[in-house]
Amino acid sequence: MIFSSIKNQIKAHPITTFFIVLGLSLSVLMISVGISSMNYSKLLEQEQEHYQPRHAVSVDITFAEEPNWQRVLGLFKNIHAQTGVILEEVTLSHGDAMMAVTPEYWTKKVVERFPLVEGRYFTINEIQEGKKVALVGKDRMKDVRVEGSDRYLTMGHDRYKVIGIIGVKGKRTRVIDYQVVIPMTSLPVAAINKLTSTKQLHFTIHNPVKDPYEDEKMIRQNMERLFPAAQMDVSPYTSNIMLHVDFGEQLALMIMIYLLAIVNAVNLTSYWIQERTYEIGIKKAFGYSNYDIVSMLFCEMCLISAASVLIGFALQLLCNRMIEQWIDYPIHLSITHLSTAVVFVVLSAALTIIIPAMKAIRVQPVDVMNRR
C-alpha cells in the first residue's frame, strides 16, 4: 500500500517531490563531504602526530647583521650525534612555481625520519659535503624528470638527484607525500642569500631518544661565540602543517545545510499535505485513524529520505573528483557515512513530518467529503 501510495503521490506531485528529494540529496552530499573532511582532518592529525620530529624544540635566532652561511652551520658544532636540524619556511623555485622544501642537517649520523617507498636516505657524507640529492614524496614524483637511469628534480636552478621516494607503500600519507627533503648544506646560493638577508633563522632541533636541552645549550654557546650580538629564542615545537579543516566550522556548516534542507522539506511537505487533504479525509472516512495517517506520512517520508540518501551517495560518486579538488580529499563511503545516512533518514522524516502531520490530524472527513 505504502509503495503504491508513494508512487501515486510522485505521479501527482512530481515537482514538489523533486524539490524535496533534491534538497535532501544535496544535504546528504554536504554531510558526506563534511564527514570526509573531518575524517581527513583526523587522519592528518594522526599522521602529523606519527611523523613529526620527536623531542623537538623550535629555535629562532635574530642576527645583528647578515650572517655568513658557513658560520651559521658552525652553530650546530658539537651537538649530539643523533640530533637533527630542520630549517623551517624554506621555498625554492620550481619552474614558475615555488616549492616548499625541508632542508635537514646532521653533524655525525643521519637518522631516518620518514619511511621509504624506494631508494635510500641521505648519507652523512652527502650532508657534510652539501651534495645535491633529494628525497621526494610520492605526490612530488610528477615534478621529477627521468634522465637515463637517474631521476632529477630541478629547484632554484640546481638539479637535485632523487635518491629515494618517501612515503608508505599502498597508502596515501599526506604529511609525507608532498614533501621534498634535501640536505641543508645543499641549498642553492640564491636561497642562502635570501635566507641570510632576513637576518633571521628559524629551525627545529630534534632527537629520536631524548629532549635536546643540551643541544640547545650548545647552540646558544656557539651563537655567543660566532655571533655575539645575535639573540636566540626557544619555544616548544609546533607543526607548520596547517590542518585544512576546522572541525567546529565544518560541523556547524553541515548542521546549517541540514537544517536548511529540513526547512525546505517541511515547507514542501506542508504544501504536499495541503494538496492531499482530500485523500486524507477520504482515508479517515473509511477507517484510517490519525495514527494510521501519521504513520503513512512518516513511512512515505522515510522512503523519500532513503531515496535522497541513495541519490546523494550517487552524486558523490559522480562528483568525487570535483569534491576531491574542493576538499582535497576523496570521499570514501564508510560505516560512518552509512550510519549517518540511517540517522539522517529517520531524523529527516521525523523532523519533516511533525508540522504536516499536525495539519493532517486536523483534517476532518466531513470537511472534504462533499468537495468536488
Partner: protein
Amino acid sequence: MALIELENIYKTYGEDEYTTVALKGVDLTVDNGEFISIMGPSGSGKSTLLNIIGCMDVPTKGVYRLDGVNVTTLRDKELSRIRNQKISFVFQHFALMHHFTVFENVALPLWKRELSKKEIKEKVDHYLEKLGIAHLKKKNVSKLSGGQKQRVAIARAMVAETDIVLADEPTGALDQENGARLMELFCQMNEEGKCIIVITHDEKVASYTKRIVRIVDGQIHSDTKGERQ
C-alpha cells in the same frame, strides 16, 4: 436491539453570538436492514445527522448508540475502527482519490483489515465484476465518467461488507438514468440485508426507500414508514 439509536442529539457550530444549531434534540432509531431516506431543505441539518451517524462528527449533546455501543465517548482510534468495519459511505461527488486507480480506490477500506493481498484482490475483483466495471480496474479514476465514478464509489462501499451504508445525495451528480441505476443497486444491497440511509431532497430518490424521515430546522418533522413505491 436497534442498530442505530440517537437520543436527544444536539449539534452546534461556532461560539457565543455566532452559534448555529444544526440539530435540536433529534431522536431516531434505525433497525437492521432498513432502507431510509432523510429529506429536508438545504441547511435543515440532514448532512450533519448523517455525519454523526457515520461517526465522522460527534454530537454536542445527546447519546448515539451504534449496535448498543455509546460511540459519543469513543476515541479517534475506536471511531476509525467502527467507520472501517460497520459503516460505508457514498457521496454526491464520489469522494474518490484522484491519483489512484479504480482498484486502489475500491480496496481502500480493506487495507485496514488483516487480509492478505490475495483476499483483497479477490474481494475487489468480485465487486468490480458485479458492478460491471472490472475492465476499468487499472484505470485512473480521474479518467472516468460520472456514472463510472459513482459505480466505483458503490463498489468501495460494497467491498467493505458493512452493515450500514450511508449515502449523501448519491444521485446529485448523476443524470436520471445513472441515478435510477444507482438506486436500484441500493435496493439490491438492501435486499441483501444492508441498512441503507440516503440523504436526499429528491422525492423520486426517496420513493425507492421504505421509510422517509423529514428534517426541518434541525428537528425531525415527520417519520413515515411504508412500502417501496
